[in-house]
Structures are given as structure tokens and as C-alpha cells.
């Protein structure tokens, strides 16, 4: 196999490494979505705990 000159091989190498980084970033973005859902659920839970406490105080 003949060696490819740098200007020809360069875009292929760049593309391969960009794909690798892009996939990791995509994965992190998806995980960030899950994290914000956990945060939202935690907020709901805090409200629920506050309501429960207020109910106990009324009694």
C-alpha cells in the first residue's frame, strides 16, 4: 500500500478523531439530559416533603 501524502491522509485522521470526540460529547449530552430529569424529580420530592411537613404541622 502506497503511503498517502499528509494533505490527503490528514482529513481522514481528523475525521476519525472528530467522530470519537463527537460520540463522547453526544453521550455526555444525553447523560446531562438524564441529570436534569433527576434534578427536576428531586425538586418535586422536596415540594412533596414540604407539603407532608406542613400537613403534620397543621395536625
Amino acid at each position: 500500500m502506497a503511503e498517502l501524502p499528509l494533505h490527503t491522509a490528514g482529513p481522514y485522521v481528523a475525521a476519525a478523531y472528530i467522530v470519537f470526540v463527537a460520540l463522547i460529547l453526544l453521550y455526555v449530552a444525553i447523560m446531562a439530559g438524564k441529570l436534569s430529569r433527576i434534578e427536576r424529580e428531586l425538586g418535586e420530592l422536596t415540594e412533596l416533603a414540604q407539603r407532608t411537613r406542613e400537613g403534620q404541622d397543621t395536625l
Binding site: M1, L4, A9, V19, F20, L23, E41, L45, L48
Partner: protein
């Protein structure tokens, strides 16, 4: 707790990956035959090795699940296979990019390494639909574990068969027959292997921490709101977090 020491692990992974990239582009010499194009191998081959290792690890975790009936092992196996699938997609894309540069084709069907890897990926692509098809969480976990074990055994067998096949067209990175890496290239390759392995472990723990947090939240919601407030669990391919109960 999966989140313990996760920030330190993530930082170490980031540092190792950065060091690897610097070593690949500024320290490792260009290959005498392929030239600059060979740099793709420092990411493509470690990704492939770790992907296959991840599938086998998923199988081992599935064995632990069937042995102990502990739902946490099912979750660990599920996450291991999930991350390996993501890595596998990267292997197929980076490999295709290399093939286009080296052979002039994105894909060749008469090359055993390529086709066998695609077969493994297609096999594991059925893992999530299999889980999704089974509604009962216990049955889902059991069937998924059996699948993970059988497929996990298939991976090394498939790898050995391809190695033993006579058509040595695909370049070998670690072999006594051809393509052994000299000096600095070998050091960089092993560094890349370590950094990709660390990335896999970091992502595995990252996702396990997220699943663990979800499970704890769900459990807390049940405790505070009572069982009657709990909405029926949505059908999912992922192990049911409610089913995990006291997940640790």
C-alpha cells in the same frame, strides 16, 4: 456508591486521553508504509479491544446476576453492554474512515475482521429490543443475562476464529505474524489502550451513578408519597429502577 471518586477518575481519564493525543501526534513516528493515515489505529484498535472486552465483562456480570439473583448485577451488565455498543459504533465509523483512506472503499465484505465485528455489533443490537419485548422485570433481567452470557462467550470464540483464519489481510497490531509495532509506536498504542479503558470505566461508573440516583429518588418518592401515588412503571429496555429496590 458509584459516584465515589468519580471526579478523580474522570480527571485522570481526561489527563491520560490528552497525553495520548499529544503522544500520537507529536511523539509517535509516522508509519513507514501508511504514513500519517496510520494514526487512526491509535484510536480505532484500542476502541475495538475495549468494546469486545466490555461485551465479555457484561457477560461476566450477567453470570453474577444469575448466580446471586441480585438485580444490581443485571444493571451493571446492561450498562457495560450499552457503553460497549457506543464504543462499537465508534469502531465501525473510524474503521470505515481508515478503509476509505487506505483501500479506497468505506467497507469490504471479504475481510473477516470487519465482517465478524459487524456480526458482533448486530448480535448486540438485539439486546435492547430483547429487553424491551419482555414486560415482567424479573423475566426481562433473567433473559437478558442469558443473552449476555451466550453472546459474551461468542465474542472471544469469534475473535479466535478470525485470528486463525488464513486471510491475514487486516493489519495486525498485536501479533507475531505481521504488523508488530516498533518502539515508540508500541508505547503510544499501549497508552491509548489504557486511556480508552479508563474512558470506558469512567463512563460505566458515570451511568451507574445516574441509574443509582434515579433508583434512590424513586424509592424516596415511594416512601414519601406512598405506593398509591406511584405511577405505573413505563415499559423500558433498561432494568427497572423500582425493581432494583435497595440498589447500592
Amino acid at each position: 456508591m458509584y459516584g465515589r471518586r468519580l471526579p478523580a477518575l474522570a480527571l485522570a481519564t481526561f489527563a491520560t486521553l490528552t497525553l495520548t493525543l499529544v503522544a500520537v501526534f507529536f511523539w509517535a513516528p509516522n508509519d513507514a508504509t501508511e504514513g500519517f493515515l496510520q494514526k487512526i489505529f491509535y484510536i480505532h484498535v484500542p476502541l475495538a479491544i475495549i468494546t469486545l472486552g466490555g461485551f465479555v465483562a457484561g457477560g461476566v456480570m450477567a453470570v453474577m446476576h444469575l448466580r446471586t439473583r441480585d438485580a444490581r448485577w443485571d444493571m451493571r451488565s446492561y450498562v457495560a453492554i450499552h457503553i460497549s455498543l457506543v464504543f462499537g459504533v465508534a469502531v465501525l465509523i473510524t474503521g470505515s474512515i481508515w478503509a476509505k483512506g487506505a483501500w479506497g472503499h468505506w467497507w469490504v465484505w471479504d475481510e473477516p475482521t470487519l465482517v465478524s465485528f459487524l456480526l458482533i455489533m448486530l448480535l448486540y443490537a438485539t439486546y435492547q429490543p430483547l429487553r424491551f419485548a419482555i414486560e415482567d422485570p424479573e423475566r426481562q433481567a433473567r433473559s437478558a443475562s442469558v443473552f449476555a452470557i451466550v453472546a459474551g462467550v461468542f465474542v472471544p470464540i469469534n475473535f479466535a476464529i478470525v485470528r486463525l483464519s488464513t486471510a491475514y489481510v487486516h493489519p495486525r497490531t498485536l501479533s507475531n505474524i505481521s504488523g508488530n509495532l516498533p518502539g515508540r509506536m508500541q508505547v503510544v498504542f499501549y497508552l491509548a489502550l489504557v486511556s480508552v479503558a479508563m474512558l470506558w470505566i469512567t463512563l460505566w461508573r458515570y451511568e451507574m451513578t445516574s441509574k443509582h440516583a434515579s433508583a434512590q429518588l424513586r424509592a424516596l418518592k415511594r416512601l414519601l408519597g406512598g405506593d398509591e401515588d406511584e405511577a405505573p412503571a413505563r415499559r423500558s429496555a433498561a432494568p427497572s429502577v423500582t425493581h432494583l429496590g435497595g440498589v447500592r
